[in-house]
Amino acid sequence: MFDRLTERLDDVFRKLRGQGRITERNIDESLREIRRALLEADVNFQVARSFLHAVRDKATGREVLRSLTPGQQMVKIVHDELVSLLGRQMEPVKLADHPPTVILLVGLQGCGKTTFAGKLALDFKKRGRPPFLVAADVYRPAADEQLRTLGGSIEVPVFGLAETGEDADPVEICRRGVEAARKSNRSVVILDTAGRLSIDDEMMDELVEIRALMHPHEILFVADSMLGQDAVETASRFYERLAFTGSVLTKMDGDARGGAALSIREVTGQPVKFICTGEGLEALETFHPDRIASRILGMGDVVSLVEKAEQVFDGEKAEKMEAKLRQEAFSFDDFREQLQAIKKMGPLDQLMGMIPGAGKTLKGVQLDDNAFVQVEAIINSMTAKERVQPQILNGSRRQRIARGSGTTVQDVNRLVKQFQSMQKMVKQMSRMKPGRMKMSMPFA
């Protein structure tokens, strides 16, 4: 999509070539393409409009750099502008001078508040700040139990109806929850509230009351990254009533482009503080404006990919692997280990989505995680010796391996061939300067 946008813009600017300058005359059509890209990414219509005005001002009269096509240059201007609007640096959660820090979570139904409460608690816990969860949703069936289960799984205490008695209302639960947290010396209290519509006055009043009583240090508006045009309406209503201090974008592990991030930021001026990328409680990331900008424009999220890779290929292992590669002792065992690491990074198609251009080149190619299973099965059917010294793999050995792994000799042959060319590649790369090796992966 990013590539498509660049291409489309290049088409628009073709006429312009040789002029070496982006002119007003030719800019309109390119702005139309950009507008479409933004709307397809669910950036709010009005937000897109004012954004395009800014881009027009920035782009008009700009020299086209020799190293870039006009399309690329235009996309860069758009990208930079997006990044600057989304907020230049990430802002951590404000902590209270006198603990406990009180954090209030608010948002529409089903956006991911309760799950995020668990994630945030885990994050604080990991950083040595004992958290405390308060279940202040008395409306949704089993809401209390949901938070209790999540809290239990990370060994964080949860305060709710069981502690207050069934008759307590959310304001009361919050009040007594914070009190309990203070008594037990917890440093952060997270208040999980029920999902609600911004036009539900009674429910919004409840939050206003909680805010007035608890003076939260941070109010986070949790928003689904799949939100459409309504993001502006909802965010500004929540902001009007609660003056929230930041937002959280959830379900970013899907393929939503997340234009709502720009809309919310633009109408409230409050920064995005966290990104949620999965149902598991560890799937929490800090916000990087440049990544979201790329994503809104449909560009692969390379930085995320690299980070993900670095997480699974932990430093030490990577170094060991690198040393091995340098000695050209790379074996099928190492190969298998790498495969397993890649698998841990998530479903293949999702990974591919993060690589710019991959969407285009791989169109129609079925990215099947089963392919991994087959490769692993083949390696598992090798003897330890065969894995370390693949050169001994003669015809009969290959037949045995095929039988053992439920594949065909052709499959085995193909893998051995792939492995050999990988070894070759590795040999070439090992002549490169150290430290560059981290990202060498099979199939890369």
């Binding site: 479409r36 709307l39 397809e40 990414a41 669910d42 709010n44 219509f45 529409l108 139904q109 089903g110 956006c111 991911g112 409306y139 949704r140 069936p141 089993a142 809401a143 139990e145 949901q146 938070l147 209790r148 289960t149 999540l150 799984s153 519509l197 911004s198 036009i199 689904d224 799949m226 939100l227 459409g228 045009q229 309504d230 993001a231 309406e233 909802t234 209503r237 379900k251 592990d253 899907g254 393929d255 939503a256 482009r257 234009g259 709502a260 149902e279 479903p347 293949l348 198609d349 999702q350 989505g353 990215l367 099947d368 995680d369």
Partner: protein
């Protein structure tokens, strides 16, 4: 009653944004013809309702075509726009819980991404079927999310339905199988299958869903007789991607559009209807038991363009 009630609910939700929209449309077409400016304005209004650029452009084009043939004034343009939208949104047999059911038990599989309202919709649907005298069994196939089963249990109790459940982490396909077995032996009329929310991009989770689907059909031919994809009305263009992938995996037979009691207009329904042709069967207009309504295209458009 149903239609009037629905209109009321949706109206309430749209009330705050509605007047502005109507005013804009009326101003846009205050001239006597659909000129460029008016066409742009209508396109803009549609995009702001999440109809999407492609669908909006097409609707405006067709509107132009329509008006070329007829005399056009502000009133005429408005009527034509409504007709155009009705044509896209409508069609399909309206959902009727009292209608004769295919299959005994009649198995309904409910799927969708996380948090859209699957479990709540099942609770409400159970209520509708119970009210028309049917026995209902809920299959708790979300064995993954924290407290998913207790949530469904509360809904089962509210609606007077039975439930088949298993341990946290159990194989959802096995639960599905057990539920159909139980329904067969108890002579139950309707089985509603709740599944865990999953993003359509996750290959392994979509495979799991296919397995649940297959397992429903093992003892009961033709099951699932209905596969409902639940979509959140606040969702933007990503709903298209969701619908495509879920349809590919589970052959969706109907859509449920939830949370229409909010400020989101659910215009993505038009883009979906246009691209995939799957009928919208039900709409969710609140968190209560009675807040599920059969979808009616005209009422939906009426509520959107209300003036």
């Amino acid at each position: 009653m149903a239609v009037a009630g629905l209109l009321e609910k949706v109206r309430n939700g749209l009330a705050k944004t509605r007047s502005a929209m109507v005013a804009r449309i009326t101003t846009a077409i205050s001239g006597d013809a659909l000129d460029e400016e008016a066409a742009d304005e209508i396109e803009e209004i549609l995009i702001q309702a999440d109809v999407g650029v492609d669908a909006a452009v097409e609707i405006v084009d067709r509107l132009r075509e329509r008006l070329r043939r007829a005399e056009s004034g502000a009133e005429q343009i408005f009527v034509s726009l409504r007709k155009e939208l009705c044509q896209i949104a409508g069609g399909g047999v309206p959902f009727d819980p009292g209608a004769e059911l295919t299959g005994k038990p009649h198995v309904v599989l409910v799927v969708g991404v996380n948090g859209v309202g699957k479990t709540t919709t099942i609770g409400k649907l159970a209520r509708l079927y119970r009210d028309s005298g049917r026995s209902v069994l809920l299959a708790a196939c979300d064995t993954f999310r924290a407290a998913a089963v207790p949530q469904l249990e509360i809904w089962a109790e509210r609606a007077g339905a039975n439930i088949v459940r298993a341990q946290q982490g159990a194989d959802p396909a096995a639960v599905a199988f057990d539920a159909v077995s139980a329904a067969l032996s108890r002579d139950t009329d309707v089985v509603l299958v709740d599944t865990a929310g999953r993003l359509h991009t996750k290959v392994n989770l979509m495979e799991e869903l296919k397995k649940v689907r297959r397992s429903l059909g093992k003892q009961c031919q033709g099951a699932p007789h209905e596969t409902l994809l639940v979509l959140d009305a606040t969702t933007g263009q990503n709903a298209l991607s969701q619908a495509r992938q879920f349809h590919l995996a589970t052959e969706v037979t109907g859509l449920v559009l939830t949370k229409l009691d909010g400020t989101a207009k659910g215009g993505i329904a038009f883009a979906l209807r246009r691209e995939l042709g799957i009928p919208i069967k039900l709409i969710g207009v609140g968190e209560g038991e009675d807040d599920l309504q059969p979808f009616d295209g005209e009422t939906f458009v009426e509520a959107l363009l209300e003036r």
